[in-house]
Amino acid sequence: MSIAARFRVDYAGFALDVDLDLPGSGVTALFGRSGCGKTTLLRCMAGLERGTGKLVVNGETWQDTSIFVPTHRRPLGYVFQDARLFAHLDVARNLDYGMRRSAGAVPKVDTAAHNSSKRAGIVELLGLGPLLDRLPQRLSGGEQQRVAIARALLTAPRLLLMDEPLASLDHARKQEFLPWLERLRDELDIPLIYVSHAPDEVARLADHIVVMEAGRVVAQGPLAETLARVDLPIRLGEDAGAVFAATVAERDAEWHLARVEFPGGELWVRDNGTPVGREVRVRILARDVSIANSRHEDVSILNLLPATVLAHAAEDHPSQVLVQLRVGETLLLGRLTRRSAQRLDLAPGREVWVQIKAVALVG
C-alpha cells in the first residue's frame, strides 16, 4: 500500500521535479514556502496538469508513459486552494454534484440512504444547514471554504487532496473539524495529502511529512522521526517538538486526566475519552519542556521524567538552544536559553529531570 509519484512540470521560471514514495494510507503533509510547487504537485496527482511522470496509487496506475487516467475517472477528492464552488448551483446542489456522480463507487449497501445520512453528518459537522439554499456568491469566505470541503468529502474518494483547506476557518470551527478529520483518517484508511502552513495542524494530523523547496523535495519521512531531528530544515519555530506513540494505562475520573505509558516512562494527559489499552499519539512541543537538575514536587507541572541529554542545536535566535533528550527509548526536544543550558551544565550524557508543561494527544 503506497503511492509512487514522479512528476516533471515546466513553467517559465519554475520547474517541478519530484519523485516521491508516500504511504498508502494516513495523512501526508506537504510543507513548504509559498510558490514552492505544492499546488502544482497536487494538480499533477489529480491529472489536472499534464506533466510527464508516473503515478501509482495503492496498486492502480493513474499515469505512466502510455497511461493517463483522466481526472474524472480518478476516485479522488480535491479541495482547491480557492473554493471553486459552482456559481449557478445553490449549496445543496453543489454538495450533491459530486455525490450523485460517485454513487456507483460505493459498495452495494443502500447507497441512497447511506449517502443521505453521510451528507447530513457532514452538513451538521461543517455547520452548513442554514446555508443549503444559498447561492455561493452570497456566502462568506469561510462558508465557501466549508462547502468546498464538504463537497469533496462526499465523493467517496480513495485519495484526498486538500490544499490549505482550513486557511480561513475560525479557531472554534477548526477545533471541531480536526478531530473529525482524524477519525476520518483512522476509519477510512485512505491516503490524504494535505497542504498546510499551520504547524499545529500538520503536527496533529500528519503521519508523514514532505518538505518542498523551489519545486523539489528537500526532506521527507515519518512525522515522529522527522520532527525530532534537530537539524530539520522545516522552520517550525514555536511548533518544533516530538511526536510518539503511547498506550492509555489508566483514567482518573476525578481530575479528568489519563495516564499513558510509552517505552521508558509515563505521562499524565487530559482525558479525551480514549479507553484504557488503546494506542494514542502524543505530541510534546520543545517550548513546553523545561529541564531541572533535581526533582521538584511543589510545582504545578504535572509531568516530571528522568532523561539523558543527547545533543544540542542552535536555534534561530542566538539566545536559544534546542536540546535533544532521551527518556527511556523515546526522543524529546526541549528549548531553553543558552544561558540556562550553560548554568545547568547540560553537556551530552548528563542525567536531568524534564518538566513537561503540556502534553497533547494528537490522534
Partner: protein, 225 residues
C-alpha cells in the same frame, strides 16, 4: 389589418426562426466550445470562416448558395443523390441558408461566454467525477447562460429580419417560403403601405415582447466577486 396571407407569412416566419434558432444553437454550441477551448492552430482560420458569410451581401450569398445547392451544384448533387431532393425553394433550403447566414451571431457570443468561464469550474467538475461531456452540460452551459441568451436573441431576430437570402433561396412561394420579411418587402414594393405598416408594426411589437421576456428571464448577471 392583417390578411390571411400575412398571417400565413407570420406563421411561416415563426417556424423558420424557431427551427433556425434551434439548429443554430445545436450547431453553434459545439463550434463555439471548440473555438473557446482549443489550443489548436486552426482556431483562427475556423473562427474567421464562421464569421465570413456575413461580409457578403445576403442576396449575393443567396446567389452562391443557389448555385451550390442547385441541380448542378456540389451540394445539390449530394442532396439529390441522398434522396432529399434539391434544397432551394423549399423550407429546408431556407433553414440551411438562414443557419449559414446567422451562424456568427450565435457562435461569437457563445465563444465569449465559454471563454469567460475559465478552467476553474471545469476542473472542479472533473474532480467531482463529471466526464467532459457531463461537465459541459452541467457546468459550462448553465454558466454560459448570458451568452446563450444573446445568441438566441441575435440569431432569432436576425433570422426574422433577414430577407435577401430568403428571397433568393426561397423564391417567395406562398405558404412555403414567403416569410414576413419578404411579405413586408412585397407590400412596400407594391406601395401597399397601409398593409406594410400593419405588418411591420405587428412584427416589431411581437419581437419587442419576445425580447423583453428574454431580458426578464435573464438574471441580473452581477456577481460580488
Amino acid at each position: 389589418m392583417l390578411s390571411p396571407a400575412d398571417l400565413a407569412a407570420i406563421w411561416l416566419t415563426l417556424k423558420l426562426a424557431g427551427v433556425t434558432t434551434v439548429l443554430l444553437l445545436l450547431i453553434g454550441t459545439p463550434v463555439a466550445w471548440w473555438l473557446a477551448r482549443t489550443p489548436s492552430w486552426w482556431k483562427g482560420p475556423v473562427g474567421a470562416v464562421v464569421a465570413l458569410p456575413i461580409v457578403l451581401p445576403p442576396t449575393v450569398l443567396g446567389f452562391y448558395l443557389l448555385l451550390l445547392m442547385g441541380p448542378e451544384g456540389v451540394v445539390g448533387r449530394l442532396t439529390t443523390a441522398a434522396g432529399i431532393g434539391l434544397l432551394p425553394f423549399s423550407f429546408a433550403g431556407l433553414v440551411v441558408a438562414s443557419v449559414i447566414y446567422s451562424m456568427p451571431f450565435v457562435v461569437q457570443p457563445l465563444q465569449n461566454a465559454f471563454e469567460a468561464i475559465g478552467d476553474g469550474p471545469l476542473e472542479a467538475a472533473a474532480t467531482l467525477r463529471a466526464s467532459p461531456l457531463d461537465a459541459f452540460f452541467s457546468v459550462a452551459v448553465p454558466l454560459a447562460r448570458p451568452g446563450f441568451l444573446t445568441a438566441t436573441i441575435l440569431g432569432f431576430a436576425h433570422t426574422v429580419g433577414e430577407f435577401g437570402i430568403v428571397l433568393m433561396i426561397g423564391g417567395n412561394i406562398p405558404d412555403k417560403t414567403r416569410v414576413v420579411s419578404v411579405q413586408i418587402y412585397d407590400h412596400v414594393e407594391a406601395m401597399e403601405y397601409g398593409q406594410a405598416h400593419w405588418l411591420a408594426g405587428a412584427m416589431v411589437a411581437f419581437s419587442f415582447v419576445v425580447l423583453l421576456a428574454l431580458y426578464w428571464l435573464n438574471p441580473t448577471g452581477r456577481r460580488r466577486t
